[in-house]
């Protein structure tokens, strides 16, 4: 029972250090404040305990004191707010160029897929020293992706994407918990994050039974569902050309502009009518209930890949099925 007993969680990401620093500061502050109050109460209780000849002295109050002990805590609180907000801002802003892992949560397991195509269940392998961003959704109820060693947690919702990111700093195996109550086996919805040295990670990647990258899978689904009939790679299609769309600003038919992020691509597939691109008709069929979350993720990865700067001059055409689509 005392094996591997400890009082502090492993610290294995860049965020963890920041969170711990604020936490330690707060522990110190809270200890100081509670000790101050406990000591005062104890001293008063003993010093002014009831005994013969000691009369209570009636004191009305003191405005100076009241203002001091309202304003001083207020400034301390604002300072804590600022510090906490700073960390949170970092936690919610994934750095550019992070490797992407798609996460689908369901009762009661985690399904993860790397961009390169490797699928994992309840296990996530990542290299040390690299930014990793997770794009997450749920197939049923709300779950929450929680890795204590990284100090990150993000609820995973059905029907939309949420994201989280981390930068692992220490190789090892860490808990992955579901932190939002999700039904019978909530406490069984646990897994592990394996942080590996980059070389080991490469070995693991190549050893896995990946069947093509997610973008490649996505390209196949894109064909299979007939998306490519309208979303052509010229300006003749009935739907917008998707090259370079991801990450750009899109002008909508009703005058609004949105950034084409994962959420937008997802929404446009599932419920195309809600945000129609300017100049196009809302003729695309609804894919809600037709594509699975896994297929959806692959499609998103594919659309994203259409905006990546070409790795080599000849590398891109293989992914674009435009050749067949010329009239």
């Amino acid at each position: 029972m005392f094996e591997n007993f400890s009082m502090w969680p492993a610290r294995a990401s860049t965020t963890a250090g920041n969170v711990d620093a604020l936490f330690i500061f707060l522990v110190a502050l809270a200890s100081f404040m509670s000790l101050a109050i406990f000591i005062m109460i104890t001293v008063f209780a003993v010093r002014y305990r009831r005994r013969p000849g000691l009369e209570a002295e009636q004191i009305e109050g003191s405005h100076a004191l009241e203002i001091t002990w309202s304003v001083v805590p207020m400034f301390i609180f604002l300072f804590i707010f600022g510090w906490g907000a700073f960390i949170y801002f970092q936690e919610r802003t994934p750095p550019q160029g992070a490797a992407t892992v798609y996460v689908v949560a369901k009762q009661w397991m985690w399904k993860l897929q790397h961009e390169e195509g490797q699928r994992e269940i309840n296990e996530l392998h990542v290299p040390v020293g690299r930014d990793v961003k997770m794009i997450m959704t749920s197939q049923d109820v709300i779950h929450s992706f929680y890795v204590p060693a990284f100090r990150i947690k993000q609820d995973v919702l059905p029907g939309r994407y949420t994201t989280a990111w981390f930068h692992a700093t220490r190789p090892g195996t860490y808990h992955l918990f579901c932190a939002e109550y999700c039904g019978t086996q909530h406490s069984g919805m646990i897994g592990q994050v394996v942080v590996m040295e980059p070389a080991q990670y490469q070995a693991w990647l190549s050893g896995g039974g990946a069947t093509g990258s997610m973008a490649q899978n996505g390209a196949a689904i894109f064909q299979q569902l007939g998306c490519s009939t309208c979303h052509r790679f010229d300006t003749q299609g009935r739907g917008p050309n998707l090259t370079g769309v991801f990450g750009s600003k899109v002008q909508l038919e009703d005058g609004r502009t949105v950034v084409a992020d994962e959420e937008y691509v997802r929404e446009s597939i599932l419920s195309p009518a809600s945000k129609v691109v300017s100049g196009f008709k809302p003729i695309m069929p609804v894919f809600q209930g037709i594509v699975s979350e896994d297929q959806l993720n692959a499609l998103v990865a594919y659309v994203k890949s259409l905006s990546k700067p070409p790795a080599g001059a000849a590398a891109t055409p293989g992914m674009k099925p435009q050749a067949e689509m010329q009239p």
Binding site: S271, A273, S274, V276, P282, V286
Partner: protein, 239 residues
């Protein structure tokens, strides 16, 4: 709710300031009346927050799914909504006048006005019922027979996802339904007031139940004054 107490208190004809309608724990009739009135206003404040939860839900989804809300709104009968608004405003007038009749001690006028109020209330519910029945015929009742196929056919200009239309109709029925429930309670309260007036229990000196019953009725009217534009008038401009 708050009126039941003072009503029970007024079980006998009040002859003068310290008539038997004064309950034991109040010092004066004035204090009792002020307590009842404040109580009613507080109750109305909780009612505002109760409908507030529904309005909040409405607001968010209307913001998200404007087109579907517009289509749903177009499909309900604006004229029935407008006539019902008129009916409720008329009933509010008769309620206001009945308070006046009580203040000035005109028992017969009071009774006539209360009957009129009840008639308007029943008329409102009747029209509401017809409207709901139409929705049922059009297969627009969520959880029962819902289909948005007709809206998709009729409004090709709007982007319509049937689920989101269903949200509109869920809120439509929840809000008009709870409003109608309040009307039913109001009619119950006014039947009681009518009975008491018939017995001549309200005088210029003591008619608090009429007053606070009236406050409740006006509040239910105000809720409808907002429901009408929010549900019926979302988007009526020519397409």
């Amino acid at each position: 709710m708050s009126d039941s107490d003072s009503m029970a208190g007024g079980s006998l004809v009040a002859e003068h300031e310290h008539g038997p309608e004064l309950r034991h724990h109040f010092a004066t009739v004035e204090q009792q009346r002020e307590a009842s009135t404040l109580g009613m206003w507080l109750f109305l404040a909780t009612e505002i927050m109760f409908f507030g939860g529904l309005f909040c839900t409405y607001l968010i989804y209307r913001y998200w799914y404007y087109d579907e809300f517009a289509a749903g709104s177009r499909s309900i009968n604006i004229w029935m909504g407008a006539i019902n608004t008129g009916v409720l405003i008329c009933s509010s007038l008769t309620v206001a006048l009945s308070v006046r009749a009580a203040q000035t001690g005109k028992r017969k006028t009071l009774i006539v006005l209360l009957i009129l109020t009840l008639l308007f209330g029943v008329a409102f519910l009747g029209i509401k019922g017809v409207e709901w029945y139409q929705k049922f015929e059009e297969h627009h009742v969520p959880g029962l027979n819902f289909s948005a196929a007709d809206l998709i056919r009729d409004y090709p200009q709007l982007h319509i996802d049937p689920h989101h239309v269903q949200l509109y109709f869920s809120l439509y029925f929840a809000m008009t339904g709870l409003h109608a429930l309040h009307m039913v309670i109001g009619i119950g309260v006014f039947l009681f007031l009518l009975y008491e007036s018939w017995k001549g229990r309200y005088t210029p000196a003591y008619h608090t139940p009429i007053e606070i019953g009236g406050l409740y009725w006006h509040f239910v009217d105000i809720v409808w004054i907002y429901l009408f534009p929010l549900l019926y008038l979302i988007d009526r401009k020519p397409l």
